[in-house]
């Protein structure tokens, strides 16, 4: 057993309890946070670009911690470089460190791209990274090996602003902003790929999206695509930079996409997203959708792809859809009227809530560590039947989530591994989704998206409830 029995302490949120008169007005911090830091999201997104090495500009602990954390989720080698600030660089600036680290990465990896994300240290110092990169490009580099110098891209990711989700989207945006259109016009007569921005989904989800487009016969460029880099097979020969990822040419060519699709109904409230940039700069028709989980949202997604491509939804997917409806019928007896608590990345939380509503489960509490005021409207816009039935928390930590949760009488939790303590205290199952999942194997293979992914998710949720019922049964039913 890892760490002990549930503590006898009552869980009260520092930020939501009435102050004792001495604690001031502002929330004083976070207890068991439900968000990670901004550069982590940047690193995951960069891992989805072919031949990219992420580089964190700051002290080495950030790259070590973030590697450590991502590796425990994906269970793959994840190299993230650091510009290794010392006390000197913290005082005098990290220009030299940044240049040296790009040199060394180039020598070791021959990468196509070095993705530079900042940390709270370099952001607090106010490091002008774009200028340093311009200087780097202007200088003559004395690299002994042949080969082209890597492309450099910068994204500002101070962790005192936003969460890992913001870091992820900022990186995708920066990649599109930097590279899209920097190529010759797409050859006439050849169908340009649809630009798809899936958000922070699992490698298995990305692979499934590729399969969907492949079977449909619609070319697609997915950014980022870490389906292979963060969930690779065992290798007969070691690859220093794992194969896979969106190529820079794909990103360049997105300017000619027949349409852009961006998942995330909370993200949709943001004006400057990768898809929006394509729309604004290259007049690409931009579609903002929720993550396609469940029937309604997947229907919308498939409808959009049908519209963009002019090709009908293949029958294969209709049958998958039919099976999902069929399983809703089979499982209704077990799911209807159940109450779930969902937490994590806001776009995932919203999509899960909308999906759960379809299945008869009420997502009584929907919580995210992000704070943008868009979570509740996003859920209710897609699932109006939930109005008045759910509680939505933004900027919340697990102390907030725990508060009063018993009175909601939830039947299950859906979210990351960090809800384990709470699930244990409540004696209810935890269905693991989102990031991080470090106490189970296969986080990278959890499927959520489209009809097939929703099916997986549906079965897992239903079975978690069945298992609990069976295990708790006094009479020992084997046929429930």
């Amino acid at each position: 057993m890892e760490t002990t029995q549930p503590t006898p302490l009552c869980l009260v949120s520092p930020s939501t309890t009435p102050s004792g008169g001495d604690s001031g007005d502002a929330p004083s911090g976070s207890s068991n946070p439900c968000k990670l830091c901004t550069p982590l999201g940047a690193c995951i997104a960069f891992k989805g670009v072919a031949g990219c090495v992420p580089l964190l500009h700051g002290s080495q602990g950030c790259s070590t911690y973030i590697r450590r954390y991502c590796i425990s989720h994906y269970r793959e080698p994840i190299d993230i470089a650091s510009s290794n600030f010392s006390e000197d660089s913290a005082v005098f600036g990290g220009r030299r460190n940044l240049h040296l680290s790009i040199d060394n990465i180039t020598r070791q990896y021959r990468p196509a791209l070095v993705g530079i994300a900042t940390t709270c240290l370099s952001e607090t110092m106010g490091e002008n990274v774009p200028m340093m990169l311009a200087e780097y490009r202007a200088e003559e580099r004395s690299l002994p090996e042949e080969g082209e110098a890597p492309e450099l891209v910068h994204v500002s990711t101070p962790s005192f602003k936003g969460t890992h989700v913001d870091g992820f989207h900022a990186t995708v945006r920066s990649l599109v902003n930097t590279f899209a259109g920097k190529t010759e016009a797409h050859p006439a007569g050849v169908v340009a790929p649809v630009a798809l921005f899936p958000g922070m989904v699992s490698p298995a989800d990305l692979r499934h999206l590729r399969t969907v487009f492949g079977l449909w016969g619609v070319p697609v460029s997915i950014l980022p695509d870490y389906s292979e880099t963060l969930d690779g097979p065992s290798w007969a020969d070691y690859e220093r930079l794992p194969a896979g990822g969106t190529t820079l040419d794909e990103i360049r060519g997105m300017a000619w996409a027949p349409g852009a699709v961006e998942f995330g109904c909370v993200l949709a409230g943001e004006s400057k997203t990768a898809g929006a940039i394509l729309a604004e700069r290259f007049a690409v028709r931009h579609h903002r959708l929720g993550l396609p989980i469940g029937l309604r949202e997947t229907d919308r997604f498939f409808g959009v792809v049908e519209a963009i491509s002019g090709r009908e939804v293949p029958e294969l997917f209709e049958r998958e859809r039919g099976r999902l409806v069929d399983s809703y019928v089979d499982g209704h007896k077990y799911l209807a009227g159940r109450r779930a608590v969902v937490y994590g990345e806001s776009d995932l939380v919203a999509a899960l809530a909308i999906f759960l509503a379809e299945t008869g489960v009420t997502p009584v509490l929907c919580a995210s560590g992000e704070r943008n005021g868009r979570l509740e409207p996003a859920i209710l816009a897609a699932a109006p039947e939930l109005a008045g039935k759910i509680q939505v928390l933004e900027g919340s930590d697990f102390t907030d989530i725990s508060e009063g949760i018993a009175s909601l009488a939830p039947d299950l939790l859906i979210g990351s591994s960090k809800g384990h303590k709470l699930a244990r205290e409540l004696g209810i199952p935890l269905v693991r989704c989102g990031f991080p999942i470090h106490d189970r194997i296969g986080a990278q293979r959890i499927q959520h998206l489209c009809y097939a992914g929703s099916q997986q998710l549906y079965d897992r949720i239903a079975n978690a409830l069945l298992e609990r019922k069976q295990d708790g049964s006094e009479v020992g039913y084997s046929y429930l």
Binding site: T4, S30, Y69
Partner: protein
């Protein structure tokens, strides 16, 4: 005499007593050159000093504890990680508040497996909590002291802990928040112990700087606060043991069997009270020299408690350490009891050891971990007849490699100068030397030595490789040339190593297994290594249909080939002949 006598006919050892490897070993100097030749001159010059061919008699000087070159992927952590994550994190009944943006607190939230369990008299366990001030832009600009003060108050109001520790992260140092003043004021206001650690990540070369800062803080703010010695005889503190996977519990159980009492384990499953009274103990035994030798030294100067190096990793080493502790106390009943326990433990362990050894002997291991583990775990491998062909630390200093005799010659660089050295003096009332000069002289005569860390290199075979702060590139070369049967490392390079087809044992978190300390833990380790080395999975990487050309030869070259025309024709004929059982109106024509 060894407690596990080896049968030299069955278990061949070399003249120095090291296991012989089954395959001849590659040339270490050539391997070293192969690793270095990729580097540009400046990087090469630096790495040359950290990449050595071992000589156990006169270890060459190693360039340890120097900064990692930017852009070289290292496994090292930061000062904050060493302080909050390693040394102080395991104290389970004080609240740990990370002052900074959310990441650092989150990443140190239960990630090290320093287990703790509440006891009847101490039901509190805060290890499951992650408290962060979650600094926002506003605090970065206008200062975060107010928010920190509010967080301390709120935390106190909710949890009523005995003490609160505050840890500074990178931006805190830059914006100049005075956490120590905030802590002092909170201490006065709340009437509990509140103290801060300036462990900003950019300080120092690695997590090692954080260990030092933590040692200083624990010594200044906790040790000596409670003058209540435990009533038991033969009291010791186990220093530098973090109870990863329950190691400290194994050591504790073993010592208890012998009648030795542990006042405090710094810091594994430990309470605030235990730390406050650990100065009442009679001996400090040091497991991880790197992370805690400062504490041992300071406690000796202030309170007169001597320290010795021990190692409870490995059966032979555990026996040796028990004997050393018993010899220190010099009590005949204790000495006898220790021999009894060793005899019991070894006879229980022997069947497992012999069984595993029969499959693992002659295999090779490499280890790149920690500040003492890369040394200690060599003994476990040696127990089962495996030779360590290369080893190195992540964050250790020269003394951990070459032994404490080099301490006077270690140059203090700018990074180390940043870390405060406490000026410690003998306590006017509580300093009491546990041994008289005569007793010490008598012990020395009997071959007993204090402060006796000889370093890893003196206990490694000649001509093995010693690599400090190994990079990915060097690991790749090592695997390519040495093909070790197993590598002990951490989660960050585990999957790199396993992609090469070499099993990797995590020696930071034990792959969520353990314990591996003492005799009972050793059995766990032997079995794990056996399971990992002798697994068949690596043989399955390439499918048989790719490996066996005969498959194709026997069946021609596919259904499209001329040779398979007969088959194709048959299939086509069958398809033609097939008719649906029920013919509907639309397909009546077939």
């Amino acid at each position: 005499m060894s407690d596990f006598p080896t049968n030299s006919a069955v278990d061949p050892c070399d003249a120095e007593g090291f296991p012989r490897s089954n395959a001849p070993l590659p040339d270490p100097a050539a391997t070293r050159e192969e690793m270095l030749k990729l580097y540009p001159p400046k990087t090469r010059k630096k790495r040359e000093k950290q990449l050595l061919v071992n000589d156990p008699v006169t270890p060459p000087e190693i360039g340890a504890n120097t900064r990692t070159v930017p852009g070289i992927i290292s496994q090292r952590g930061c000062t904050y990680a060493g302080c909050r994550g390693v040394v102080i994190g395991p104290i389970h009944d004080i609240l740990h508040i990370t002052h900074g943006p959310v990441g650092c607190g989150y990443y140190s939230w239960l990630t090290r497996r320093n287990l703790g369990r509440p006891r009847d008299d101490q039901p509190v366990n805060y290890l499951q909590y992650c408290m962060s001030t979650d600094m926002m832009e506003e605090e970065i600009i206008f200062g975060g002291e107010k928010k920190l003060a509010a967080a301390i108050r709120e935390a106190y109001r909710i949890f009523k802990p005995k003490a609160i520790a505050v840890y500074a992260t990178c931006p805190v140092g830059l914006i100049g928040d005075d956490i120590h003043t905030v802590c002092r004021q909170a201490k006065e206001e709340l009437g509990i112990n509140v103290f801060g650690f300036s462990c900003e990540g950019y300080k120092g070369v690695s997590q090692s700087a954080g260990h030092h800062i933590a040692n200083n803080g624990v010594f200044k703010h906790m040790v000596g606060l409670l003058d209540e010695p435990d009533p038991e005889p033969f009291r010791i503190n186990v220093l530098g043991e973090y109870n990863i996977g329950g190691d400290a519990w194994e050591i504790d159980t073993l010592l208890k069997k012998c009648g030795i009492h542990v006042t405090a384990t710094l810091s594994g499953d430990i309470s605030y009270e235990q730390i406050c009274k650990c100065h009442t103990s009679d001996l400090n035994v040091v497991m991880c020299h790197r992370s805690i030798n400062y504490m041992a030294e300071m406690m000796e100067v202030k309170f007169g408690i001597p320290w010795i190096k021990v190692n409870f990793i490995g059966a032979e080493q555990s026996a040796k350490s028990l004997r050393k502790i018993a010899k220190y106390f010099g009590d005949q009943r204790l000495l006898d009891r220790v021999e009894e326990v060793i005899a019991q433990e070894t006879s229980a362990l022997r069947p497992v050891l012999e069984d595993v050894k029969s499959r693992c002997k002659g295999k090779t291991a490499a280890m790149f971990v920690g500040g003492s583990r890369a040394h200690h775990y060599q003994h476990l491998f040696k127990d089962i007849g495996m030779l360590t062909v290369a080893a190195g630390y992540e964050f250790a200093h020269r003394d951990d490699y070459e032994g404490r005799r080099v301490l006077p010659t270690i140059k203090v660089d700018a990074d180390s100068r940043n870390i405060e050295e406490l000026d410690v003096e003998a306590d006017p009332t509580r300093f009491s030397p546990r041994k008289s000069p005569e007793q010490i002289a008598a012990l020395a005569e009997g071959g007993f030595s204090f402060k006796d860390y000889e370093g890893m290199m003196t206990e490694m075979r000649k001509s093995t490789l010693v690599i400090d702060d190994i990079s990915h590139h060097e690991i790749e070369k090592l695997i390519e040339i040495y093909k070790p049967d197993i590598i002990g490392s951490g989660i960050k390079d585990k999957f790199v190593i396993e992609k090469f087809g070499v099993p990797c044992k995590q020696l930071h978190s034990y792959d969520y297994g353990g314990p591996y300390a003492a005799f009972t833990g050793a059995a766990n380790f032997y079995l794990e290594v056996d399971r990992m080395i002798n697994t068949k999975v690596w043989k399955l990487v390439t499918p048989s249909w790719k490996k066996d050309p005969k498959l194709r030869e026997n069946f021609g070259v596919g259904i499209d080939s001329a040779g398979n025309k007969a088959i194709r024709d048959t299939v086509a004929g069958m398809a033609k002949a097939w008719k649906p059982r029920k013919t509907g109106p639309t397909d009546a024509e077939g």
